[in-house]
Structures are given as C-alpha cells and as structure tokens.
C-alpha cells in the first residue's frame, strides 16, 4: 500500500513536471514594434499601407537588407548579382541617374541585358500614392487581379522580370532560408523563421514606404525657416501661375507638397502613340492615349533621364520642351492650355528662375540619410 502511494506520488510529480515544462516551452510570439510614420508639414494624412502588411521596425530593417542584397535573383554568382539598389541609388533619390556607372544615360537593363521598357520613376514618398504605381498606374488597390495592387507586387515583378532581376522566386526563398541571420530577421518581422516570398515582398515594400523626402529648402521655406532668393521666388510664381509656366496643376506646390497629383496626363510630347504601356492600356479610354504619370518633382534635379522614355537628359531640356516644344494631338490634356502656342513661351531669364525654384526641391539630407543607405554588412556577412 505504501508502495502504491509512492508510485502515485512519482507519477503525479512527473505529470506536473511535464505539464510545467510544456507551459514554459511554448515560445512566446515575438512582439514586433510598430513603425510609425511621422507626417511632414502639409503632407497627406492618409497612407497607402495595405491591411495585410502593417509596418514594423523589424519589417523595415529586414526590407532594408533585402533591398541591398544582390542575391535577390536566387543566384550567388558574382556576375549575376542584382538588387533593388543596383538601379535605385540613394544618391540619385533612388533612381538610376544619368551618371549611373553601369547604365549609360540612366537607361537600366536587366541581368539578361534586356533594357527596361520605360525608364525609372522616383521611388520616394510612395506611401502617399493612392492612384496607382508605375508610369501607367497598372498597380492599384482596386485592381481585380489581386497580384497587381501595390508595392509588394512590384517587388515580385521586379524579381522575375527579364529586363530586371530575372530571378526565380522559389530559388530566392531557398537561398535566403539558408543564409545565416536572415531566418531570425524574418522571425522578428513576421513571427516565423520560415522564409516566404510573400514576406520578402512585404519587407521590401515596408522599407520602400519609409523613403520619405520632406526636408528640401522649399520645405524649410514652407515652414518659415529659410527665405528663398528673388530668382527662386520668381520661379515659384512662374511654377504656380497659369500665365507663367503653369506646372502646379499636375505637379503640386504649397497646397500639395507631394509635388505630384499621381495622376496621368498626355503632356504633348508626341503626335503618334504606339506605346502599348501607356495609360490607355489600363483604362481603355481614348483620352488616355500617350498619358503617363506626372512624376514628383522632389529631387528631380538628380533623377534624370526625364519622361517615361528618358528622352531628355537634363532639366534644361525639359523646361525648353514645356516652353517651346509641345506637340498638338487630340489626346493632349486640356491642362496643357498653351499647346497651340507650342508651350508656355518662357524667356531665358524665366527659364533660369524656374530652374532655380525646382532646384529648391532637392533634399540632400534624404539622399545621405544613413537609415536608407546600404547596411554596413548583410546578415550573413562576418
């Protein structure tokens, strides 16, 4: 009887021990830290962040590594490395720039050597874009195709596109799962150390949404911190008046400090329209033939080449085009109301003043911000 009591006691103790262990062994889910975007003065309060990809500090940190990791193709051969940052250079406001060391004139091509269909769009302040991504806005939240809706989808498209990274998503997942340090970062960002391509998309998109440029001289002028020169101020007047250069209707200003409406316009570049990737390709509306997104003019000084096809290498050429080079067609947007005169007819002094104002939109702090630059070392680097 005494023996039975002893056995029962042991069984009970073992049960309690395991029960206790079970409780303690259950891993606590990692609590990632919400990433809060500070809204700069005058900027929109509504952000384009999908419900299924809330921003976290850990997600952004992972996205930054991935953005700069050349193995995003799924390959490790030194000759076939390509990352987002290969084309999107911080010092060029995350565009290629006309002085790109590998892409002469700022015309990128993919690992296969195939050139991209259009040149690059600025990759800044995209968290405020509510009107579609890409020159023709083919990625938009209401797209019936759930795989073509937001920056996350852009990541996947860039990885697999022949004219970009030309990778294989399965190989990318396998590779990054095997790279020391990455699984832990995925765990911290998404609660699982299992690498998925969906989470790669999410992390890079989170990082891209942090690329906020809002501290140019014009921003400081808006906040009353600095004064602009007489030439810059005159350029600002030209920028925001119909009888001046009338840039503001499409490119914003004080009341729209994004310096773009993110809408699509035929701005009078051509008379014949054969590009299968213009806005018309998305909407089917005849009036959208030859229409493309109005780009933000923030940091535009360093973001050449200009227009969807990169036909202009310098801002001087762009201003000359709007001043004297417009071409009439049935599809020109009515906002181009100087079209019958061939442009806004600026004098040389006015062109200079307008250019000086546009240069006030350059944000050097953004282009040197260490939070956006390549990490000192990748997770698996010693």
């Amino acid at each position: 009887m005494k023996r039975i009591g002893y056995i029962l006691t042991v069984i009970g103790a073992v049960f309690l021990f395991f029960a206790g262990c079970k409780k303690e062994d259950k891993p606590e889910p990692y609590q990632s830290t919400p990433y809060v975007i500070d809204i700069p003065f005058g900027f929109p309060t509504e952000l384009n962040i999908p419900d299924d990809n809330p921003m976290t500090v850990e997600g952004v940190a992972l996205g930054r590594y991935l953005f700069y990791d050349g193995r995003l193709s799924g390959r490790t051969d030194p000759d076939s490395l390509m990352s987002c940052s290969t084309c999107h250079r911080q010092e060029r406001s995350f565009e290629a720039g006309v002085d790109h060391p590998d892409f002469p004139g700022g015309f990128p091509y993919g690992i296969t050597g195939k050139p991209t269909h259009h040149v690059m769009l600025p990759m800044i302040n995209l968290v405020w874009n509510q009107n579609g991504y890409g020159w023709n806005g083919f990625l938009y939240p209401e797209n019936p195709n759930p795989n073509l809706r937001n920056i996350e989808d852009f990541v996947r498209l860039a990885v697999v596109a022949e004219d970009e990274i030309s990778g294989d998503t399965a190989r990318v997942v396998t590779l990054f799962q095997s790279l020391q340090g990455y699984p832990e970062l995925f765990y911290k960002a998404f609660g699982s150390d299992k690498v998925t391509f969906k989470n790669i998309e999410r992390a890079i998109a989170q990082f891209v949404r942090t690329l906020i440029s809002a501290n140019s001289r014009f921003d400081r002028y808006m906040r009353g911190e600095v004064q602009l020169s007489p030439s810059e101020l005159h350029g600002y007047v030209l920028f925001t008046t119909e009888e001046g250069a009338d840039c503001f209707h499409c490119h914003g200003g004080y009341g729209n400090p994004l310096f773009t409406t993110h809408l699509f316009y035929n701005n009078g570049k051509d008379t014949v329209f054969t590009d299968p990737s213009d806005r018309f390709a998305i909407t089917g509306d005849q009036m959208d033939k030859g229409a493309y997104k109005a780009t933000t003019l923030r940091n535009i000084e360093v973001q050449g080449p200009y227009m969807h096809d990169g036909r202009f290498a310098t801002l001087e050429e762009v201003i000359e085009f709007y001043s004297h080079g417009l071409k009439q067609s049935p599809y020109v947007n009515p906002l181009m109301h100087h079209i019958n005169d061939g442009g806004v007819q600026l004098t040389p002094q006015e062109k200079e003043d307008l250019l000086n104002f546009i240069r006030t939109l350059r944000d050097d702090e953004f282009m040197t911000n260490p939070e956006f630059s390549r990490p000192d070392k990748l997770p698996d680097e010693p």
Binding site: F43, T241, G252, H337
Partner: protein, 268 residues
C-alpha cells in the same frame, strides 16, 4: 433620538433627490430630426453630359467638349417661412464633386435636420472666405484643388476643363477655373483679392423633413449655363485660362447663379 432619526432620514432622502434630479437633467430631449442627401448630376441641354466629345455649342457659338468637372459646394442651408434656418455647418461639410469619381457624386449629410417644413434650400458655390484656408485639405482629391498662395491661396472652387474650336477651326484647351480673384496694378503687381464664392438660391426646393427619414435631392449642373446667362461667355474672347483674370471669373460668377437646379427624389 428624534434628532438621530432626522439625520438618518436626511441621509436617505437627500441622495434620492440628488439622483432623481441628475436623471432629469442628464436625459436630453429626443431630437426630432431627419437627414439630407444630394446626388449630383451634370447635364447639357437637359441631357446627361457626354465627356470628351466635341458635340456641344455654347451661347457664343463655340463648339466645345468637356473633359472633367471638379468643384466644391458648402454651407447647405434650409429656410423656413418664418425666416429661421438650419445650416449644414460642420466644417467637414464642404463637399467635393468630381465627374471622374463616382463616390463624390453622392453626399449623405451627417447633420441632423429638425423635422418640419422648409420653404427653400440654398448652398454656397465654392468655399467662403472664412473657411477657404490653405492646407485645410491635405489629402487628395481635395488637395489637388489647391489655389496657389500667390493668387490668393485656399482652393479652386471649380475646375471645368475641356476644349473648344476657335474661329480658325483650331481646337484649343480651356481651363474654366474659378477661385479667389486678384486685383492687379499698372505694374502687374497684385494689390488685393476678390472672393468669388456665391450663394445659390434653388427654386422649387421646398421640402418636409420627417423624423428618421432622408430627404433625397438631385442637384443638377446645366453646364451650358456657365456660358450663357446673363452673360454670353465667348472662349474666343476670354481665352483658355481665367485664374488670373478677375473680369472673366466675375462674369462666370454672375452666370453661376443660374447653373444649378434641384428636384426631390423619393424619400428613403
């Protein structure tokens, strides 16, 4: 003993009175109210407008097409025959209408309207001087309506964009944009501003607001009226842009009083 009893009774009775009086003042009288709903319609000669089609002619004989219409209305007010009135005066009650955005063509006003019979409805075309402040709207699409600081700030009241055929049969764009006008001196410097917003009195807009019901109306813009009554607006004379031309905007403002009409829909 008697004093003790009185104290005890007081302790019981006073809180009862206190609580019952609280209940009385805390319970607001139920507001007998209904709601107001506007649908927005844009017509040309009583027919729904066809955008981007060169098929219309204004009073000046200009053949023209309309590409898009974007505008604000505000200060919707209902008047009773005794002179009293109710204004939808929430600051957010400045409504943006855009022919490209269906969601903007339907405005369910949030303010409760006291039940009763109202003789007429008015609204303000654009935004009053008091409310028309820069950066009031920071989100698109409203923020895309900003009016440059140099020209007076705030927001466009309206952008009506299109194209017309001039006397030489050339097609030209027009931006019939209304907002704060400027007064220029001989040196072309701005010396003052003119607020071109105006109140529209809608004929046949009497209505009865019933408890917990929504009075729905269709507010119709007859686009041709901008160019017709009382002034004939000739694109060949005024040109394609008017933001810096107060005479043109003043003409548009006077024509604007006849642009809108309203009719009641079935109650919801």
């Amino acid at each position: 003993m008697r004093i003790k009893l009185l104290v005890i009774l007081s302790l019981i009775i006073i809180p009862v009175f206190f609580i019952s009086s609280c209940e009385k003042t805390d319970g607001p009288e139920e507001l007998q109210a209904g709601k107001l709903l506007f649908y927005f319609d844009h017509v040309m000669n009583d027919e729904v407008i066809r955008l981007d089609t060169m098929m219309y002619s204004n009073a000046a004989g200009n053949p023209y097409l309309v590409n898009e219409i974007q505008y604000f209305i505000s200060d919707v007010t209902l008047y009773k025959n005794d002179g009293s009135h109710v204004t939808i005066d929430d600051w957010k009650a400045i409504w943006y209408v855009d022919t490209d955005l269906p969601d903007t063509q339907y405005w369910q006003m949030k303010d409760p309207i006291p039940v009763g019979t109202y003789d007429s409805i008015t609204f303000r075309f654009g935004i009053s001087e008091e409310k028309n402040k820069s950066l009031m709207f920071v989100n698109p699409p409203e923020s895309n309506m900003f009016w440059p600081e140099y020209l007076g700030g705030g927001y466009h009241y309206m952008k009506l964009n299109g194209k017309w055929k001039d006397t030489a049969d050339e097609i030209r764009p027009f931006n019939f944009h209304m907002g704060i006008g400027q007064i220029y001196d001989a040196n072309d410097s701005i010396t003052g501003f003119v607020h071109n917003d105006f109140v529209v009195h809608l004929e046949n807009s009497g209505c009865t607001i019933q408890k917990d019901k929504t009075a729905a109306f269709v507010l119709t813009m007859e686009v041709n009226e901008w160019f017709e009554n009382p002034h004939v607006f000739d694109f060949n004379y005024w040109g394609g842009d008017i933001m810096q031309n107060q005479d043109a905007m003043g003409t548009a403002k006077e024509n604007g009083h006849n642009v809108f009409s309203i009719h009641r829909m079935l109650e919801e």
